[in-house]
Amino acid sequence: MLWACVALALTAVPLQAADNQLTPDQKIVHVLDRLGFGPRPGDVERVKKMRLENYLQQQLHPERIDDSVVEKKLAAFNALSMSASNLMESFHEDQRMAAERKKAQAESEKQKDVKSGSELADANRRASNVQKLMDDKPGEHLSRIAVAQLQDAKIIRAVESNRQLYEVLADFWSNHFNVDVRKGPCQVLKVVDEREVIRPNVFGKFRDLLEASAKSPAMLFYLDNAQNSAPREPGPGEERLRSRVREQVPGTAPDPVNAGKPRVVGGINENYAREIMELHTLGVDGGYTQKDVQEVARCFTGWGINLRTGGFEFHPRRHDDGAKTVLGHILPPGGGAKDVEWVLDILARHPSTAKFIATKLCQRLVADDPPAALVERVAGVFRATDGDLRKVVEAIIYSPEFYFPATYRAKIKSPFEYAVSAVRAAGGMMTPEGSAGPPLTARLAVETGATFGRGMDRIAGARRKTLNLSIIELGQALFAYQAPTGYPEDSRKWVNAGALISRMNFSLALAEGKFSDVSLPTDDLLRGVDIDKPDLVLNRLDEVLLQGRMSDATRATLEKQTFGPYDSATSTVNVPQLVALMLGSPEFQRH
């Protein structure tokens, strides 16, 4: 027995030579970096005290972690708790008012040409009334600020939540099942998607998450499945509506060929069918064909949205009830809504799905090119547990590969990770209703506008801005990636000269206290350090901001920067500039 232990120990040693391993402190930093948004001052000590193993277990069970302080901070974001139907009501109301304003403006333009005094005044008054309504009560027009509330809440949670792993994974899954809020009612429906589809299923079964997403009105609209319908003859009401559209919409072409024949409405839309296989489950090389895309699209016919309530609806009349063949499985005719259940079963349990999800998760948590053996093992856990996502994540973060020295600081931070980790490193806290600056609703409207690409010039020149605006400027507007791929998990895509300069500007703005919703206790960073002693200041900042990882080259530069102007007893170290330099340093770009 004893002999066996010795033998085991001996064989184990050469594989894990001491100088080829992360130190216990490095392991903690690595966990805080990758399974969270980077350490805050004191975090390393805290984890060391409670032991890494306990910390990991806690993070895997976020329900055991109290997070009431953060949730309280989110209370001001009223859209986030609203029902789908209230959100949709607000959306339609805003659409109606926007149309009215446009009409009133057009009228006033027309009147300008005629120059009839009273009519002109009338039209102008109407235009400005509508404008006033929009400006005065932005809080009542939730769809204009729901997007910003969603983004701000995500940022606040990333910065302050104690459930760090949960927030990392919520970000991962939201990005995996990407929905662009800039597409129609997605600007309000994504609120529901995030709250009821993504967040509750982060540690659940993949099959449940997939079905929730397939039924999510935001997804159904974003990938056009709400429009996917079996071709059929129209009812009389539809026919009337159709001829009206034909008369009223300029540019609708005449119908030279089908005239006189019975008309057919509806038809297959392949968009969602393709992406659910390519991007959500099997992966592009997962072994499906164009024929499978068409068949899955037929299964999804009739899966739609009620645009009034913002709820999921199955329309049996629009469903193609014929037999289908999906990835070799024959689905009998007359399946109705069950067709999709079968499809989801097939996709969720397909070995390509296990491999694809394992690869993407390993890419996020371990390395841009994750070790094949690790991916294979993790995919095995996915298959063995029927896609239990907690078990899958566990398999990754308890793997030896996760702690390989080669994975340590191997990834470049995304803009979102970079901005949030910088605020955390400096001990910053979010003050969403910040005392300075414009009222909350007004700034949320600006943030939503910026997400839609409006007013960027003004924002670039603004003296103070919010963290959310700066993340938009860094190139990662949250919930607003146009293509269904989501932002890349391969972190190398974020490295380029322009992006680097933006990050330097970000760190400068942060250190100068230019973010209206971040409070930065710079004094706390240096508590107990004599601010007149540059070397001590440098050491402390290295320890707090960079966990003592400052390179010799960076130190040399910073010493020059610091000692240069330091020539008399009256001058002190330019601490904010040092903070800016460290948060913009090469060291801080990686995690």
Binding site: D224, Q227, N228, S229, P250, G251, T252, A253, P254, D255, P256, V257, G267, I268, N269, E270, N271, R274, E278, V284, Q290, I412, G453, M456, D457, A460, E473, G475, A483, P488, K493, V495, N496, A497, G498, A499, L500, I501, S502, M504, N505, L508, A509, E512, S551, D552, A553, T554, T557, L558, K560, Q561, N574, Q577, A580, L581, G584, S585, P586, Q589
Partner: protein, 405 residues
């Protein structure tokens, strides 16, 4: 002024004379798969109208109205909202290649874009971009390398420009520089520069150097002052701004050789519209942007070729939502002084059912690589094209002869 002095001097040394300037290629990617049949309409093909009862563009009318196509050659016509480019076509500076694209059968946007930007049909082992390899294949240009030789007006470097050759991604010139003018930030730029210069991190060291070199060059050119010439009016969109800033960099003689910009919104699955509507609005922005760039560059267009591309086309038949799904071949455009334009190139495959690719899509008669290769070779002077288009059997006899050598 930011940046070290020696770099500024280097920039001036590399500055070409405005007249005998270097050749420039501007690539514009229409992401999302543009419906080539709506952009350059085969109004002479009766099957076109049969397949698209609600979204076809009517035949040209004797008096040009906003409703009908703008005739190009008696068979094809521009979408009415491409009107801004009609004069360029008539001047002979715009060539259209119909039924062009990739032979790849993928209908995945992302795979198809990746393949096209890598210059391959289906080979996933090629990771660098065709433009990047083209730059590597132009030996004499390597000698006069500047930071701005290859620039993408994007947040992330597009696949086309990824690879061993240096390339910049700049979403907006106005944001390019460290804002170190505050009391607190004074001198911070040299601090950043020092840290990246000394970084052992190979990737970040290299990127940092590119960044600071570019800042120095740009400042020497003073980008804040710019007004378009010849009455050019760019659309106020991000695409319009990208094109304007490309013109700006060209005129500032920063040594730009390859520029890249992109425009989205072509994935018209639903309510694509006909002569008016969603897609028409995209054409307005697209064509007005291109026309503005053409006019703004004026005489400089003698050295410029603009190449537009899209990952694939769209189904010939409209779908159930008055839109179109992912298809196969589409229409590419080549514009500029060296272009033999005023013509729609490419064999027309027809739109009858038996003529369609997989029974549903416009068939391919021009491999996109025959277009890219001709431009890389004749316009940019690239050698060893086999390295740019691996696995593709090149044959100059297949070239359409789109550009004058």
């Amino acid at each position: 002024m930011w940046g070290p002095r020696f770099l500024q001097q280097l920039v001036f040394a590399a500055e070409p004379t405005p007249s005998g300037g270097r050749k420039i290629l501007i690539c514009l990617f229409q992401r999302g798969a543009v419906d080539g049949l709506s952009m350059v309409v085969p109004y002479g093909d009766k099957d076109y109208y049969a397949a698209r009862s609600e979204i076809a563009i009517p035949q040209p009318t004797p008096k040009a109205t906003a409703e009908g196509v703008l005739d190009l050659d008696g068979f094809f016509g521009f979408h009415p909202d491409m009107a801004a480019l009609l004069p360029v076509y008539k001047t002979g500076h715009l060539a259209l290649i119909q039924a062009c694209g990739s032979p790849s059968s993928t209908r995945s946007h992302f795979d198809a874009q990746d393949f096209m930007e890598c210059g391959v049909a289906n080979d996933k082992s090629i990771r660098s971009g065709w433009l990047n390899r083209t730059l590597l294949a132009c030996p004499e240009d390597r000698a006069k390398l500047t930071s701005f030789q290859a620039v993408a007006m994007t947040t992330m470097l597009p696949r086309s420009l990824q690879g061993d050759h240096e390339a910049l991604a700049i979403p907006d010139l106005k944001m390019f520089g460290v804002r170190d003018t505050s009391e607190l930030g004074r001198g911070v730029t040299s601090g950043f520069e020092g840290m990246y210069e000394g970084a052992v991190d190979r990737v970040l060291h290299g990127t940092g150097k590119e960044a600071f070199d570019a800042i120095a060059a740009l400042n020497a050119a003073d980008p804040t002052k710019y007004s378009p010439q010849n009455g050019a009016q760019y659309p106020t969109s991000a695409f319009g701004r990208s094109l304007m800033q490309i013109a700006q960099m060209i005129k500032a003689n920063l040594g730009i050789e390859v520029a890249f910009a992109e425009i989205g919104g072509w994935d018209t699955h639903v309510n694509q519209g006909g002569a008016a509507g969603q897609l028409a609005n995209r054409f307005t922005e697209f064509s007005k942007g291109l026309a503005a760039l053409y006019h703004d560059l004026g005489d400089r267009m003698a050295d410029v070729v603009i190449l537009t591309m899209s990952e694939f086309g769209r189904t010939v038949r409209q779908n159930g939502n008055r839109g179109t799904d992912h298809g196969h071949a589409t229409c590419f455009m080549v514009m500029g002084g060296p272009v033999r334009g005023g013509k729609v190139y490419g064999k027309w495959p027809g739109l009858a059912r038996e003529q369609l690719y997989e029974g549903r899509d416009l068939a391919l008669t021009t491999d996109y690589r025959d277009v890219f290769a001709e431009i890389a070779q004749k316009h940019l002077g690239a050698r060893n094209l086999q390295k740019i288009f691996p696995g593709f059997k090149l044959d100059p006899n297949r070239y359409h002869r789109l550009v004058r050598a």
